[in-house]
């Protein structure tokens, strides 16, 4: 049950986490308590996001970039270069912006590729002349996503080091 505490925003946990845990220990360990804790976590996340519009904007921008990657994956079927370029460029941007979360940006951008492939399968968007590749092959898209994100993070870290010393 204590693991559910991880669902709350970090700032919330820093403020209420310890006392919340003590109350949680005294609550009956049943489904009702678990649902109450999950509901509270969703509420706390929503309030945290509303209090920090910049964060919400970052997520919206990441979703938009992922959508562009997905669109390119479906429509640029004869060439992987546009998708790779988009993963590198977007990954670089997000990695440079938040180096500590470069991995998250890379994963989110990469996820657009298998999701787009799945969508194309369901909606029959693959051209008849080109049979769709197996879904597991899309894992290769992780490489440019991670490369871009960590190149951006490395540049940001390098700039930070140069500025300090």
């Amino acid at each position: 049950m204590r693991a559910l505490l991880r669902l709350y925003p970090r700032r919330w946990r820093e403020r209420y986490g310890e006392e919340f845990e003590l109350v949680l220990r005294g609550a009956p360990p049943d489904v009702r308590t678990a649902l109450d804790v999950v509901g509270g976590a969703l509420d706390a996340q929503a309030r945290d996001a509303a209090a920090r519009p910049g964060r919400l904007l970052r997520w919206a921008l990441l979703a938009l970039c992922a959508a562009v990657v997905g669109w390119l994956d479906v429509h640029a079927t004869d060439d992987v270069q546009p998708v790779v370029a988009a993963l590198l460029v977007f990954g670089f941007g997000f990695g440079a912006h938040r180096p500590a979360r470069a991995w998250l940006a890379a994963l989110a951008l990469f996820a657009a590729v298998p999701l787009a492939e799945l969508w194309a399968d369901v909606a029959h968007l693959h051209p008849a002349a080109i049979p769709p590749a197996p879904l597991y092959e899309t894992v290769i898209a992780l490489i440019p996503a991670l490369l871009g994100a960590y190149a951006g993070a490395a540049v940001r870290w390098g700039v930070g080091l140069a500025a300090r010393g």
């Binding site: 919340f20 003590l22 109350v23 005294g26 109450d36 509270g40 706390a44 309030r47």
Partner: protein, 111 residues
């Protein structure tokens, strides 16, 4: 302006947390309590079993609106107390509930 002040101090606008917030305020009207004691008191007074998620959702909102405040403590269990504006908000809310209760009883008696 008066309406704006009343709104900022009231327990309205708390959405689904308005009822738990009132229960927390009623509990703290007796004196400072920590989270576990609030939950136990609420259950004793109202019969409502308030889960930790609901309890701390209400506490966070009340603290944000300065209707309650933490009491400095060395204990890991941080106690909270009612502020002056919290006491005013609770009094106003209870007066409204009394009016609603009275109207409801009158109407039921006439039905």
């Amino acid at each position: 302006m008066a309406a704006a002040v009343k709104q900022s101090e009231g327990v309205g606008g708390l959405g689904r947390y308005a009822e738990p917030a009132v229960l927390v305020l009623v509990s703290l009207a007796e004196g400072p309590k920590h989270g576990y004691a609030i939950a136990a008191d609420v259950q004793a007074v109202s019969g409502v079993r308030m889960g930790p998620g609901t309890l701390y959702g209400a506490i966070a909102r009340l603290e944000e609106r300065a209707l309650i405040e933490p009491v400095p403590s060395e204990d890991r269990r941080r106690p909270y107390r009612l502020t002056a504006s919290g006491a005013r908000a609770l009094a106003g809310h209870l007066a409204m509930l009394e009016r609603v209760t009275a109207a409801g009883r009158r109407r039921l008696a006439g039905a």
